[in-house]
Structure formats: C-alpha cells, structure tokens
Amino acid sequence: MSSTAETIDDTSRDLGGSARALIELTKPGVTRLVLAMAVCGALAAPGHVTWVRFLVAMFGTALIVGSANTLNMYLERDSDRAMARTRTRPLPSGRLAPSTALWFGVGQALVSLPILTFGVNPLTGLLAATALISYVLCYTPLKRVTPWALHVGAIPGAIPPLIGWAAVTGTLDARAWSIFLLLFVWQLPHFLAIAMFRREDYAAAGLRVLPVVKGMRAAKREAVFYSVLQLACSVLPFLTGLGGFVYLVSALVLGVGFLVWAVRGLAPDAGTPWARSLFIASMPYLVLVSAALVAGVLLPSGGS
C-alpha cells in the first residue's frame, strides 16, 4: 500500500518537474516582453478590436513565441551545454528528452497558427509564421556562421508590434512599419551589449558574435552607430503621424541619452561593466519610448 502511494507521489513529482521544464523551454520572460510589444502595436493601431479577438491574438502570439523559443533550445542543446549560463536549461541538464522538446515546439506552432489565422485574421498568421521560421531556421543556425545573424534575428524580434497592429486593422501601413523599424534597430545595440559582456561564454559555445569575431573595439563602434540609427528611426513614428509632439520630445531626449551612454563606451577603459550598463539602459529606453508612443496615440492632447 505504502509503495503504491510512493509510486504515485514519485509520478506526480515527475509530472510536475516535466511541466516546469516545458514551461522553462518557452522562456516565459521573453514571452512577456514580446506580448508587451504586441499590445503596444495593438494600442497604437487605429480602430477597435473586440476583447475576445484581442485575447485570442495575444494567446496565439504567446504560443508562437513559446514555439520559437522551444525549437531554438532544441537546436542549440549542444552549444547550451558549453555555456555556464545555459548549462542548467531543461535539455542540456537532461531534465527533458530532446524529442519531447521538438514535438512540444512543433505542437505549439501547429496550434497557434490556425488560432491566429482563423481566430484573428490571415495576416497575423502570416506574420507569426514569418517570425517563427526566420527565428528558428535562419537566425539560430546563422549564429554559428556570421555576426550578421544579429540583423537576421532582429527581424522576428521586431514583428510582435506588427502582429498587434494587424490584429486590430487587418492591414499594415507606414505607421506600423515605423514601429517595426524602431524595434528592429533597438535590438542591435541591445544584443551587441549582451554579446560584449558575455563574449567569453559565447566564444566557448562557438557563437560568432561581433565581439568574438572582430573584438570589443569594433563592437563598441557598431553600438554607437546603431544608437545614432536608433535616434533617427525614433523620429519615423512621428513623421508617419503617430504619437505627436509628446512622443517626439520623449524619443529625442531618451535617444540622445542612450547615444551619450554608448559613446562613453569608446573610452579604452570601458569594458564589461559599461557593456552591462548599456544593456540595462536599453530596457528603460524601450519601455519609456513605447509608453510615450502609446500615450501620444491614446491621450487626446498627445497628438498636439
């Protein structure tokens, strides 16, 4: 009797552990950030959407992000074993079998794409499919080949606001693409900063990021270049009629602040601590610029 109870107890513990490992595969933190950007796109879009359709769009988006992250971890299970930071993930640590992760990732995609296509509209489904495939099958393998993988990976990273926008309007226009461009460019200094302070880890895993391939000096110069580009792109939503002057002033002030921080990195003694601080600074930049954009669209006086 007691051995039966112990078996049941062990089984439920195993199931609980597997469920936690499956959730870990979806990277809930990244999923939350992506959902926040999709919500921004939906809020900035003109027109109205029913609550049901909005929730269906967010559910489908969460599933497609979960699928992309799961399949990314499946494909990178060997290099994850080489990095201290990723060694404890479900696959390299042996908590889940690779085939389980593969079918979980494929399953999430095959559930979410019909939900987005037929529950919201085909454009959101097409955007989600593009984000998933470009992330899993272009960005993920390219990381081991060239530092240009950063730019390829920034495409799926910038699609979530388009999904939110398309869920509301069913179309994409210059205003939607201006948000896409801003988010695309934002990721370049953001991920370069991460690559700079984790360059030893990335080198050990064989990932050909810029600080590993061309060194810190080149990476710092590119971070400054992309910060200038980010400042320029942050004006685009205003030029297309989104946000108004409240947004414009906020974006310029925040963009100049970020650029100054990036330029500080050109000093010879600026190393890992500076790179980490640039990465941290990029987060409030995105939150505040997004908030200014949405506030500029939603508040009656925001457009003047």
Binding site: L110, L113, G125, L126, I133
Partner: protein
Amino acid sequence: MTTQLIERWWPWVLFTAVCFAIPLAGFLCER
C-alpha cells in the same frame, strides 16, 4: 553532401511549408 543536407533538413522544410500553408489557406478562404 547534398544527400546529407536533404536528409537532415527535409523535416524542417516540411515544417516551414506547413507553417506558411496555414495563413495562405486563410487568405484563400477569405476570398
């Protein structure tokens, strides 16, 4: 080399085709 590439990647090519076929079917249904 080519055979190895096909053997390794055909499931992913099929997965890609299915992923894009779903929204394309949606566009066709809307017409």
